[in-house]
């Protein structure tokens, strides 16, 4: 039975990969860039899910880790001539270190206090970025257009056998989604690992978990670190896709958006989180398409978000779980 379940999972993943590979052939150039952005958000939300879905910690500050990742890439590429692709894991690792450094003391705080502490970090981020302008280029930010280390150029064009022309946006799409799928597999592995189970034990009942020997502090800090890594990678990709970084790209809204994407996607699921990422990219646009009058897109966005949370409190993932319950209960018979 287990072998069957795993091969079903493998099939699902292969299908996902196939869709990802094939999609740009059906999309316009602009849509490809949108889907690239969805990929970036997907990565960040996958990481946040490890923290919130498994360890039960709500963070409103992960935009700060994205900023850290983005600026790491920007500074390494612009000031040190490094190739942008190599900076991606470095950005992730630096963010992970920052996550551990912040997490270790901060995780002593309980739920709402911790959430508000992370909110404070998100708020402080653009201000701090602007203040240390020697390093970060201040309000103007850092420009990557002229840098040597940039791999994908706006003029990038490759003609594949068969006639399809891959543009820069397609390249970006493949870059982000390759990384996203890899990190997706990693997240899946974490979910099914002992570490993942310990985390969920902590989330469900901290006291019982502690009594069973799970070391709360190290597990939570590691979860924080992992989620920061994902955010850092996402931020790095953001810098690469935008060819620049500036403090204005990391307002509080970004951190809040990650949490919104997680809620819409559904805590605890993995693939449905992509729906959350899609929500973040498509809904604002869709709202703008309905009306450009000041404030109206925000009203639509807010109303849809509230309605979504009322109707689907467990997000898209929750909906899918509920729909497939008759199926999965046969696959997972009670022993």
């Amino acid at each position: 039975m287990r072998a069957f379940r795993y091969s079903l999972r493998g099939l699902g993943f292969a299908l996902l990969v196939a869709i990802v590979v094939y999609l740009p052939f059906r999309l316009s150039d602009f849509r490809a860039s949108e889907f690239a952005l969805i990929g970036i958000y997907f990565i960040a939300i996958l990481g946040l899910n490890v923290l919130t879905g498994y360890a039960g910690v709500i963070s409103l500050g992960h935009g700060a880790f994205m900023a850290l990742g983005a600026y790491t890439t920007a500074i390494l590429v612009a000031d040190h001539g490094m190739r942008d692709l190599w900076t991606i894991p470095l950005a992730g690792l630096l963010a992970a270190a920052a996550g551990a450094a912040f997490g270790l003391p901060a995780l002593r705080l309980s739920g709402p206090y911790l959430a508000l502490a992370t909110f404070g970090v998100a708020v402080a981020t653009p201000i701090v970025i602007k203040k240390f302008d020697g390093l970060t280029g201040g309000s103007g930010g850092i420009n990557l257009f002229e840098a040597e280390g940039i791999t994908g150029l706006p003029e990038f064009l490759v003609t594949l056998p068969g006639g399809k022309v891959l543009s820069f946006n397609d390249w970006l799409y493949y870059l982000t989604w390759t990384i996203a799928l890899v990190l997706f597999a990693v997240a899946w592995a974490i979910h099914h690992s002992r570490f993942g189970r310990s985390l969920r034990a902590i989330r469900d009942n901290e006291i019982a978990a502690a009594a069973s020997g799970v070391w709360l502090a190290s597990h939570k800090t590691l979860a924080f670190s992992i989620s920061a890594f994902y955010a850092g990678v996402a931020g790095s990709l953001l810098a690469i896709s935008a060819f620049s970084v500036q403090p204005g790209a990391f307002p509080v809204d970004r951190s809040i958006a990650l949490l919104v994407g997680l809620a819409v996607g559904g805590l605890g699921s993995l693939a449905p989180l992509a729906a959350g990422a899609a929500f973040l990219v498509f809904l604002p646009q869709w709202a703008q398409d309905i009306s450009k009058a000041p404030g109206v897109p925000a009203v639509i966005y807010g109303a849809v978000l509230i309605a979504l949370m009322i109707v689907l409190p467990m997000g898209v993932g929750g909906l899918l779980r509920w729909i497939t319950r008759p199926l999965t209960s046969r696959l997972y018979p009670r022993s």
Binding site: P112, Y113, V123, M309
Partner: protein
């Protein structure tokens, strides 16, 4: 020295506004366990309502109290229609709903009032008093006075009336309250209504001090209010007031006297609070919850 005292007084005044909004946050957190990220936007919306009433020719204090009444109803409606519906969901869902509310209210204000800058009438004269060399603005006295009055009225309501007692009981022990005939869910709605009133007062007091305002009026105030509430303890009304005033004074003094921190006063304040939280994880006056297995 006179300089310092001046900064302290105006710090108390701005702190009073933070305290009011922080008190609103604490009220809601204590009764419903929700961190209401939309508190600032609710206050902003109320401020616009006040502006609208004044614009239509109502005398100031009529508009003031009418706005409070409207805000109360608004708060109750939000709790009944939106918050109550998701109250049994996981924390993330509830937080997201308040975020949705934040976005919606901000957009609604921009839509209704066209995103233009408005000015709110200042009920206090712009005189200053010289008290032994210290220059104090009448406006600051006025803000401190109104804030104090509202806090006292709220205190009296909660501590000295039957309904106030029921509200406190519903927050402390909803199960037992029900057994005594308290309609707990309506008490929660009442809490949201009162919080909306507190926020409205905060907004109406702060708007004139900014010269002009738009729908982004309360975003920075909300951040400071969160900081104050966390500093004082999310479940402590006293903490909210003390936290607000302390924060206001400290921010003023730091901003005035420490140059390096002038731009960084917000991150500096947050860092300070984080430090305090490490020593007292539930804020200065918060109760640590003893978790029994």
């Amino acid at each position: 020295m006179a300089d310092v005292l001046q900064q302290v007084v105006s710090g108390i005044a701005s702190g009073g506004v933070y305290a009011l909004l922080a008190l609103a946050l604490v009220l809601i957190y204590r009764s419903t366990g929700v961190v209401n990220f939309a508190q600032g936007e609710m206050a902003m919306f109320s401020t616009f309502v006040c502006w609208e009433l004044l614009d239509r020719g109502l005398p100031y204090w009529v508009a003031f109290f009418l706005t409070l009444a409207i805000s109360f109803v608004g708060g109750v409606l939000i709790e009944r229609l939106v918050i109550h519906t998701v109250s049994r969901s996981q924390a993330l869902t509830v937080v997201t709903v308040t975020i949705g509310l934040l976005i919606l209210l901000n957009g609604a204000a921009a839509w209704i009032w066209k995103g233009e800058q408005r000015t709110l009438e200042n009920p206090f004269p712009s005189d200053t008093f010289d008290v032994g060399g210290v220059v104090i603005a009448a406006q600051d006295i006025g803000i401190i006075g109104v804030s104090l009055a509202i806090v006292v009225v709220l205190w009296a309501f909660l501590q000295r009336t039957r309904v106030g007692l029921a509200l406190r009981a519903a927050a402390l022990n909803p199960e037992s309250s029900r057994l005594h005939g308290v309609r707990v869910s309506w008490m929660l709605a009442l809490g949201w209504g009162l919080a909306a009133v507190l926020g409205a007062v905060a907004g109406i007091l702060v708007a004139p001090t900014q010269g002009s305002f738009d729908q982004n009026l309360m975003l920075p105030v909300l951040i400071f209010a969160f900081a104050a509430a966390v500093l004082g303890g999310l479940d402590s009304p006293i903490g909210a007031v003390v936290g607000g005033v302390v924060l206001g004074v400290v921010l003023n003094l730091v901003g005035a006297y420490i140059d390096f921190f002038a731009d960084l006063r917000l991150p500096a304040a947050l860092l300070l609070i984080l430090g305090i939280l490490l020593l007292r994880p539930n804020g200065l006056f918060g109760r640590s919850v003893v978790r029994r297995v």
